[in-house]
Structures are given as structure tokens and as C-alpha cells.
């Protein structure tokens, strides 16, 4: 499908399309820096690539044009994706795509922070993940991984000048005709929500300016949980990256494991066994349910509904017992392997899952019964934290938050993987894009996940869970102990790592919060040259000020809960 885009670009821009590479069905085109915005604009307006999924920096120190900046654009209606690359020398700036997409703001800031590529025309080019006293650029190949830099004090997000401006805006909002008392900068209250705040979900920071209880302006600061996933990935073999993926979205680690494994398998060109595919579907959907339970449960606590928290967390605790049975740990599962899984199902798995699913149904029913017509709940959610369809796409929303606005993009339907095309399930969507729709979409999605798991249990085939290829997956321990061949295979995989062919591919799937993707570059050695995660929250959190400005401060917390920001995934 995506070749069409390349053809269209060649037709429109002819010689300006400098290069085209295709690897495993992903198409990458290279264009000159000065034509970048024309190409991106053409893709957006004419070819239906409405969304900027990600901006990726790559460092090649041996080249004179040292940096590649890759724009990942995609359609939300058709399975079409394209990666547009521009090169830049040290200090050379790349035109910013902020005029085309709102999501470009945060993505480009990230590239600036970690690679030091400036973007011309960017409205707010500051560091985003590293702190403001950090020197150097962490993801450059010549930055040593262990060189930490201490921070003496946190950055203030609003200057005095910002306060004056915000006060003026607040005055206008209160007295549009320009009469009446003017609000002074000193009347505005600055409140730091986070990074350590009881109501904040994770260590995020939003500094808000309040006029009474109304938010005049909000600014966000992230990176408090920047654990350098991408740098760590370059320092390990492909298989060793797996445990790091657990800790991205730690509410649904199985999903991260499976999607990462799929990305590497895609690079390797390996097909997993049928039993493995079905088990992966089951664990993915279980994780999705757990993630949504945490999100909905804590979100309702934001509105004072503590009972619902117990209802949802009881089921979650019950489901953790399944996860613990599968892999021995509750949260950091490390369950998938490149080419298979770490363990097969345990005896009695099917009955246990079915009984826990019945529990889930009761719990969802109870939550809906308590919430659906509850006056407080409705007052706190309907029309609050709303975002329009167009804005959501421009901000790069995916997952339940995008579907709550009425865009039915779901990677499981649009780009089926793991055999999702053979399962019957619906994609629930909302209309208003407010807190209420987001909660309801999540509740409905849990019911759909339950449907998928039941179908998967019905068709669970017997057979091996791992591919029969010693170059991909570790041999069984018995073989390692008993045969020289087994020892050799184990040794080579552990020491040299999977020999992933040189190339670039994007493996992705529908995470609990939206499109979770791993953009992998291999140089043919046993270690990743670069892995860029596309965390769904990152783009969504970029829209947080838009969601809450003009609203009440208490609603900001509820809106934040409903977009389900997981700091581990946000900051990586």
C-alpha cells in the first residue's frame, strides 16, 4: 500500500526524491532539507497522511551529514505509512514541521535534546527529557552511557513576563469588553502539579497558573523518569533489551514484550508458531484489560469514587495471579522471546482465565452501575477535557483517546498482526473526545478484549511455542547440558546476540494506550544500532495544556487520569 505514496512523491517532486529504500515492506524516502516541508505538506494534504507519528533522530558520526532526522507519517484510515528522512550536519538546522502538525512540537524537542539538531521555526525549542543543566547530547554515539550529570535545582516554567501575559489574558477572559477590574500578575497563583503530587498520575509535572480555581495557562515538564531506554538498547544485544521493555508501560508489560519481539522478528524475517501467536494474543488482551482497569480505577478515585477503585483493583489482583503463573513475576514479566515465549501455559490456565474473566464482567457491571448515571461522575466528566477530532489527529493521539473522538483507528484492525483478522471484535468509539468518552471507550474495550480471549482459548492449538531455529532462540536447557551443539548455539546467541540483518524496520501494534512501535535500525552486528520507541503517551501528553486550559483545576486531574499517562513510557 505504501508504495503508492512513494510513487506519488516521485511524480510530484521528481528528482528531489533523493533516495528510496524498502525493507520488510517499510518505505523510506530521503529528501533535501529545503524541500522537507513541501514533501510533508503534500503527504498531509494530498495523500491523506493526516498524522505525524514520530520524529526520529539517528546519529552516524562517520558521515559528514552526521544526523538523520526521520519523519514518520501515517494515515489513520488506510494502512499507509511512510518515513521521510533528511540529513543534517553538525549545527545545521532542519525546518520545523510544527506548522503542519501540533505533535511535531514535542517530537522535535526530543530530537533537539538528545541529538542537538536545531529546528528552524520551532516555537519552543528547549530540552525535554534531560534536565536544563545537562551538557552535551545524550544519544549521540560519542556520549558515554554512564556519564550522569547532577542537577542543582529544578527549572521554573513561567517567567515574570509569562505571568504578565497570562494575567492580561485572564482579564480579557473575565471582562471581554475591557471594563472592570484588571487581574494583576500577582493575583495569579502558580501551582506545581507534580512531579511529586498526590493527585498526579506518575511523576509528571504540570505548572499551572490559576485565577481562582480556573486554569489560565498550563505548561508541562517531563523527563523525571527518563531511564535512557534507547541508550541502554544500543548497549545490549537484541534479546537483552526485552527486560527493559517491561518497564516502559509498566501497567501492561506483556504488550511491550510482545510488540518488541514482533519488531525484531520482523527484522529477522521470522514467523512464530501458531500456538505462540494465539498465546500472545491472550496475554496481550489480558494486559490490555489490566491496564484499562488501573486507568479507570485510579481515574474514578480522582473524582472521589473510592469504591470503584476496589472493584477494579480486585479483578486486577486476580489477573496478576495468571500473569504470575505464566512467568513467575507480577509486573515485570519479560515473557516474550524473539521467536517465541519464555514459558508455555501452565496446567489449568484455561479454566483460571475463564473464571477471572467472569469476575471481570461482574466488576465492569458494578462500575457501570455505580457510575453511568451518577450525577457527580457525569458533572465531572461530560464535556470536560474535550478535544476535537482534527486536533486529536494533529496532536498524534492514538488508541482509546483517539477513538473517544470518533476516529476508529486501531492497529489490530488496520494492520492486523498475530492473526487479529481472524477474531471477531468491535472497535468501540465515542463522539465527544471528553473525559467521559475516554472512560467509556476503555470500559467497552475491556469487554471486547474479553471476547477476543474467549475466542483465542477456544482455538488454542497444540504444538511448540518457539520457532525451531537455533539462530533465533536459545535452545532448551536439556540440549545445552547434553550436546556440544546446544552449548555452541547458546554461547553464540548470548555472546554475539541475534544476527539481525542490516536495515531499518518499524514493528508496532496496538498498545493499551495506542500505537506502540519500535523503530529498529540494525547495522548487522549483534546489537541494535538504534531503537526508537514510539510511546503513545508522549504525543498525547503534549496536548495536555490544550485539554485543561480554561477549565477547573480539579477537572485537570480527572482529564489527566483519563488520558492515562504512564511515566515509564512517556520518558522512557
Amino acid at each position: 500500500m505504501s508504495e503508492r505514496l512513494v510513487k506519488a512523491l516521485r511524480q510530484e517532486f521528481g528528482e528531489d526524491v533523493l533516495g528510496h529504500e524498502a525493507f520488510r515492506g517499510d518505505h523510506h524516502v530521503r529528501v533535501p532539507r529545503e524541500r522537507l516541508l513541501d514533501v510533508l505538506g503534500h503527504l498531509k494534504h494530498r495523500e491523506g497522511c493526516q498524522m505525524l507519528g514520530d520524529v526520529i533522530g539517528v546519529d552516524h558520526p562517520e558521515r559528514s551529514e552526521r544526523f538523520d532526522v526521520v519523519y514518520y507519517v501515517r494515515s489513520v484510515e488506510r494502512p499507509e505509512q511512510l518515513w521521510v528522512t533528511v540529513g543534517a550536519e553538525e549545527g545545521q538546522s532542519v525546518p520545523s514541521a510544527t506548522s503542519l502538525w501540533k505533535s511535531a512540537n514535542v517530537h522535535e524537542r526530543e530530537v533537539y535534546d538528545l541529538f542537538g539538531v536545531p529546528f528552524s521555526g520551532h516555537p519552543d525549542l528547549r530540552r525535554i527529557l534531560c534536565h536544563h543543566e545537562f551538557e552535551g547530547h545524550a544519544l549521540r554515539k560519542d556520549y558515554p552511557i554512564e556519564q550522569g550529570q547532577e542537577l542543582s535545582r529544578s527549572e521554573k516554567l513561567f517567567s515574570d513576563h509569562d505571568l504578565e501575559r497570562a494575567a492580561h489574558r485572564a482579564s480579557l477572559a473575565r471582562h471581554p469588553e475591557g471594563t472592570g477590574d484588571e487581574i494583576m500578575a500577582s493575583d495569579l497563583l502558580t501551582v506545581n502539579l507534580g512531579p511529586s503530587h498526590p493527585a498526579m498520575h506518575g511523576c509528571l509535572r504540570a505548572e499551572v497558573l490559576l485565577d481562582g480555581e480556573t486554569i489560565v495557562e498550563a505548561r508541562t515538564e517531563i523527563g523525571y523518569l527518563h531511564r535512557c531506554f534507547e541508550k541502554e538498547a544500543e548497549d545490549h544485544t537484541w534479546a537483552q533489551v526485552m527486560p527493559y521493555t517491561d518497564r516502559l508501560n509498566y501497567c501492561s508489560p506483556m504488550l511491550n514484550n510482545v510488540i518488541y519481539a514482533m519488531a525484531v522478528e520482523r527484522m529477522l524475517g521470522v514467523e512464530v508458531t501458531e500456538r505462540c501467536r494465539v498465546i500472545r494474543v491472550i496475554v496481550c488482551e489480558l494486559s490490555r484489560i489490566i491496564d484499562h482497569l488501573v486507568c479507570v480505577g485510579t481515574n474514578l478515585v480522582d473524582m472521589g469514587a473510592l469504591t470503584m477503585y476496589w472493584y477494579t483493583f480486585n479483578v486486577r489482583e486476580a489477573m496478576y495471579q495468571i500473569i504470575e503463573g505464566l512467568c513467575g513475576s507480577r509486573l515485570t514479566t519479560n515473557y516474550a522471546r524473539i521467536g517465541g515465549l519464555s514459558h508455555d501455559l501452565y496446567p489449568g490456565f484455561e479454566e483460571e482465565v475463564r473464571s477471572k474473566l467472569a469476575m471481570l464482567e461482574t466488576s465492569i457491571h458494578e462500575v457501570v452501575k455505580l457510575a453511568a448515571r451518577n450525577r457527580i461522575f457525569l458533572d465531572r466528566t461530560v464535556g470536560i477535557g474535550a478535544i476535537s477530532k482534527a486536533d486529536a489527529i494533529s496532536h498524534g493521539f492514538t488508541g482509546p483517546c483517539l477513538r473517544a473522538c470518533g476516529v476508529e483507528y486501531d492497529a489490530r484492525k488496520l494492520h492486523p498482526y498475530l492473526g487479529y483478522e481472524d477474531y471477531e471484535f468491535d472497535v468501540p468509539s465515542g463522539v465527544d473526545g471528553d473525559t467521559h468518552s475516554r472512560i467509556m471507550v476503555r470500559l467497552a474495550e475491556m469487554v471486547q478484549s474479553k471476547r477476543i480471549i474467549e475466542q483465542a482459548l477456544d482455538r488454542l492449538p497444540s504444538g511448540p511455542i518457539n520457532v525451531d531455529d537455533a539462530r533465533v532462540i536459545l535452545p532448551p536447557k536439556r540440549q545445552v547440558y547434553d550436546s556440544i551443539e546446544g552449548v555452541m548455539n547458546q554461547f553464540k546467541l548470548v555472546y554475539e546476540g541475534n544476527q539481525v540483518p542490516a536495515g531499518t524496520a518499524y514493528g508496532f501494534g496496538e498498545g493499551a494506550n495506542g500505537e506502540l512501535g519500535f523503530y529498529c535500525i540494525s547495522d548487522g552486528s549483534g546489537r541494535p544500532y538504534r531503537i526508537k520507541v514510539r510511546p503513545p503517551c508522549f504525543a498525547i501528553f503534549g496536548a495536555f495544556p490544550d485539554l485543561v486550559e480554561g477549565g477547573m483545576i480539579a477537572d485537570a486531574i480527572a482529564a489527566l487520569g483519563s488520558i492515562n499517562i504512564i511515566a515509564g513510557e512517556l520518558d522512557r
Partner: protein, 171 residues
């Protein structure tokens, strides 16, 4: 300590230190400093089923002024460190710190430019709980260890217990 149970009017004698410590160890008010995955397990620990309150530490406060036990649950990055230090300084004496999980204890497997290699580099730490993340049982074990420690402690502030580092962090 000796008490005549059959005579409710009788006196009980004990050392002040013992009586105070006995009270302290069963009425810890924790403040969760949750940043990452461990915070999710901390939530599981306070929820029903595991239920932290069985150990006399259920009154989770979100204000450092009201708490005497800080449970640092999760990775502390260099960006986070000054905030952790400030919040610790806001807690009143006597105060204790549990480093929950390997990230808080030593940086864990994040040996990189963003991660503080253990919270004891910025604040004094009493108990280190292993695990990534620790199971709720593991955390409870850490709590019991802390209670045993409190029982033996004198009535001295953390500055004296921990020396230079505590003085520095308190500033």
C-alpha cells in the same frame, strides 16, 4: 516490662525509650514517593488482599509534614533528585526511609546518564528492599525489618543516626 493482668489498677514499669519506640514502630505514617513500576506494586500493597494496614502502617499520607516514613518506590533520575531531597527535608523528625526496589537502592539495571545510582547518594536510607519490583510480601518484610530497627533505636534524630549526609540533606 511486667504487668499484672489480673489487677487492672496495677502499675506497669518500663523504660521510656522502649515505650516510645514500641509506639512508634506500630504507627508509621508512610508517604509514598512513587515514581515508577514500584509505585504500582506499592498500590497493590496498600489495596485489599495484601493490605499494608496489617502491619500498623496504613495511614498513607501525601504530605511530608504528616509522615515519618518515606517509601521511595521507583527510579530516581538526576532530574528528580533535587525534588526528593526537598521533600525529605520537609518531613519532621523522627523519620525513616525505605528504598523500595533495586532502582531506588542502587539504580538497578539502569546504569546510565539519567539515573541516580541509589537514593542514598542524596538522602539517608534505612532499609533497602530488593526486587524489581519487590512483591508486596517483600515490601512487608522490609517494613518488619524497619520496625525491628526502630525498636532498638535511641531517641535520637536522624542527623545523629545518619551523620553528615542527613545534615546535608536536611539543609
Amino acid at each position: 516490662m511486667a504487668v499484672d493482668l489480673n489487677n487492672p489498677g496495677s502499675l506497669m514499669t518500663t523504660r521510656l525509650r522502649q515505650a516510645v519506640n514500641w509506639g512508634r514502630k506500630y504507627s508509621l505514617w508512610p508517604i509514598p514517593y512513587g515514581t515508577a513500576c514500584c509505585a504500582i506494586e506499592f498500590m497493590a500493597s496498600v489495596s485489599s488482599y495484601h493490605d499494608l494496614s496489617r502491619y500498623g502502617a496504613e495511614l498513607v499520607r501525601f504530605s511530608p509534614r504528616q509522615s515519618d516514613l518515606m517509601i521511595v518506590a521507583g527510579t530516581i533520575s538526576y532530574k528528580q533528585a533535587p525534588i526528593l531531597k526537598t521533600i525529605y527535608a520537609q518531613m519532621c523528625e523522627p523519620k525513616w526511609v525505605i528504598a523500595m526496589g533495586v532502582c531506588a537502592s542502587s539504580g538497578g539495571f539502569y546504569k546510565n546518564y539519567g539515573t541516580l545510582q541509589g537514593i542514598d547518594r542524596v538522602i539517608p536510607t534505612d532499609i533497602y528492599v530488593a526486587g524489581c519490583p519487590p512483591t508486596p510480601e517483600n515490601l512487608f518484610h522490609g517494613l518488619l525489618q524497619l520496625q525491628a530497627k526502630i525498636e532498638k533505636e535511641g531517641l535520637v534524630p536522624s542527623e545523629e543516626r545518619h551523620g553528615e549526609r542527613a545534615r546535608e540533606a536536611g539543609r
